[in-house]
């Protein structure tokens, strides 16, 4: 079973987002960095919900999903 907890999304700092952006070679203005930080925290709050769900290990991802 996978049942993973993340840090609280509100704890993600601006500096962490800036470091992640550098890893992607993104150069963001001060305003863009602040907005990106807000957006990343929102994604993280959704990710928290997803990661907290206990999925059986036999369930594989469906990146090339076709519903038939």
């Amino acid at each position: 079973m996978s049942h993973i907890s993340l840090v609280n999304s509100s704890d993600i700092s601006l500096e962490q987002v800036e470091d992640l952006a550098k890893l992607q070679s993104l150069s963001l203005s001060t305003e863009d960095l602040a907005n990106t930080h807000q957006q990343f925290k929102l994604i993280a709050s959704h990710a928290n919900l997803v990661m907290a769900f206990a999925l059986d290990e036999t369930i594989e991802p469906a990146p090339e999903f076709r519903p038939w």
């Binding site: 150069s27 959704h46 519903p67």
Partner: protein, 451 residues
Amino acid sequence: MVDETSHAIEIAAAIRTGSVSALEVTKQALARVNSLDQHYNSFTAVTADRALKEAAAIDALKQQGATLPPLAGVPYAVKNLFDVQDLITLAGSKINASNAPASNDAALVKAMQKSGAIMLGALNMDEYAYGFTTENHHYGATYNPHDVTRSAGGSSGGSAAAVAAGLVPLALGSDTNGSVRVPSSMCGLFGLKPTYGALNLDGMFPFVHSFDHAGLFARSSLDLALTFDLLQSTSSSCLGQMGDGVAGLRIARAGGYFEQCDAQAQSAVALVAEALQASSTIHLPEVARARSSAYVITASEGGNRHLQRLQSRAQDFDPLTRPRLAAGTLVPAAWYIQAQRFRAWFYQQVMQIFDHVDIIIAPATPCCAQKIGQETMTIQGVTMPVRPNMGMFTQPISFIGLPVVAVPIQKVGGMPIAVQIIAPPKREDLVLRVAAYLERSGVCTAPVVRN
């Protein structure tokens, strides 16, 4: 008599019988776009020369006594992420404006042309389809024909506004997380998001590979059915089943998560449920988590798609889009993979529910169209941002690729809202059949509106 209120099927029939020519219909439609679209800002390009040539070709076929194709002479337009030969495929962006014009039509544009439809132009959208409001920084907001101070919805807002205002009877759009169903709700239209993979996406600018669908807008369910039949790659027909009614169908409304909407949305669902005699309620499991998974996958795939552009031309993005895409590039692989695994789980769970019901009904949006520029809305006492949350009921459904028709409920003196009619994969015949029943019974209508 053909006018701006005519449905596609009626226009094609009038041209077939010779009561009006394709050229007359096309000139009237172009004149309407020219004189009225200043109020709605739905078109970003008008292809008048192409339209007149295509119409002349239909009239020539008619004069030769040839059998006309099913949509002969019917004007339509497409969201500007579809390739249209000799037009730049903007996808709502400034960055794409420096690209070369498309050298060919998208597959669905080709299919529309083969069916005899007349291309009038390209329609406004949220930048790179990432939004639910069509408040485009580069090309302006699209205004809702029911109330021009309000959003037309998005991301296919131009498509919805053009059909609602009677500029065209049909428009093509795309739906990744709700971009056909949300603007259908905002503008009071019938909108079809078919099963994932049912329509060919070749020549459409992509957003999120896992969820991208093409879709249709119309003011009648029959127009949706005919057009879907013509665009899909199989030989099955939905149009022929449109008169079958709903007797024998097991229809239930979605409870729980889907009840977090305002009174108007609740009333719309209740009205549809009553008309369909749907007295039972089902609960899809873990819907909030499905929506969250869709959110994570969208952010990650969307961000990755635009990473190079974010690295080289960040300042040329719409300020509403830039931070969302930038944040998406930072999503850890573990979040993305878990969301895709959850998707497989959720699909299995919902398919088990379809062992017991044929149709699920749910609100399309938590409320009607909000004011352009409005940042927040309050639903059942909870204040939330407008832009990401207009799709809270559509995202969990496109997450697993189910076919949906959004059916409109009009409100006298007020804004419309839509209800989702949802079926198992590849059962567009069922959702269209139910939509046709609701239209025949007068519950759902989509009149031309120009307020």
